[in-house]
């Protein structure tokens, strides 16, 4: 399903729109405190921008921007940021995910430390959701065999 599209208009317009979509996704993550939004929604918007890139340009041309190994790493790192924030509170003699303890290293009062803890957690959720959504889309739309992998396999077989 993911092949290079031939329509110049769609390719050019999506090329110009993608940075704005990504910035909007980051805005939704960062301003989850003041307006509707947060890690899940922003992560999904970021993932949607990458999916648009894949659909408009095809996997072959876009794979330098969406490397599938990095997606797996990112989904792990997102969960790690979440759990790591909780564990940091544990190290600072608090309960697990008790962000008020972060005030000791951030030099603020407890309420603002909690706010910053929420922000870091949201960033972790956003990374995980973005990576997982793009990864699921890649798996489902290609059926598991990424385009271009087949030829490489044949090449290595011939060399062997």
């Amino acid at each position: 399903m993911i092949y290079r599209g031939e329509d110049i208009i769609i390719r050019t317009i999506s090329r110009m729109l993608i940075p704005f979509i990504q910035l909007y996704g980051l805005y939704v993550i960062m301003h989850g405190h003041y307006s509707p939004g947060g890690g899940f929604q922003g992560g999904v918007i970021l993932g949607a921008s990458l999916i648009l890139l894949l659909l408009a340009y095809g996997y072959q041309d876009a794979k330098s921007r969406v490397p599938e190994k990095l997606l797996t790493v990112f989904s792990g790192v997102g969960v790690f940021i979440y759990a790591g924030t909780g564990f940091l509170c544990l190290v600072l003699l608090g309960n697990f995910l008790d962000y008020a303890m972060l005030a000791k290293i951030l030099h603020t009062d407890a309420a603002h430390a909690r706010s910053l803890g929420i922000l870091s957690v949201e960033i972790g959720v956003g990374m995980a959701v973005m990576a997982v959504m793009v990864s699921i889309f890649l798996d489902i739309s290609t059926g598991g065999v990424l385009p271009g992998e087949e030829e490489e396999k044949q090449k290595t077989a011939e060399e062997a």
């Binding site: 989850g32 405190h33 003041y34 307006s35 509707p36 947060g38 890690g39 797996t72 989904s75 792990g76 997102g78 969960v79 979440y82 759990a83 909780g86 697990f96 995910l97 962000y99 407890a110 309420a111 603002h112 909690r114 706010s115 803890g117 929420i118 957690v121 949201e122 972790g124 959720v125 995980a128 959701v129 990576a131 997982v132 990864s135 699921i136 798996d139 489902i140 059926g143 598991g144 065999v145 992998e149 490489e152 396999k153 290595t156």
Partner: protein
């Protein structure tokens, strides 16, 4: 089979509609759901977390453990998609 399934569906629907007769009315401010835990959250969220959006503060702070499990669920879903479909090169 089709008729049987329809019958089961109707039966379930009838039981559920009978159950709704004891529910509080739609939009009732005194319903048990909004009397029990949430007043504490609504009153204290600004003082304790400095976050005006209550949904975010409850999601990531008061019930952060819940959300962490949920992030793990998403991670697991991604991994299981990879294990189900992807054919490795080796």
């Amino acid at each position: 089979m089709k008729f049987f399934g329809f019958l089961i569906t109707l039966l379930t629907g009838a039981v559920l509609i009978y159950g709704t007769l004891d529910m509080p009315a739609y939009g009732d401010p005194d319903s048990p759901a909004s009397r029990h835990v949430s007043p504490r959250y609504i009153e204290m969220t600004e003082i304790e977390t400095a976050t005006p959006n209550m949904v975010t503060s409850i999601l990531a702070d008061y019930r952060g453990y819940d959300t962490m499990g949920e992030t793990t669920v998403i991670f697991t879903a991604g991994m299981s998609c990879i294990f189900l479909l992807r054919k490795r090169k080796s």
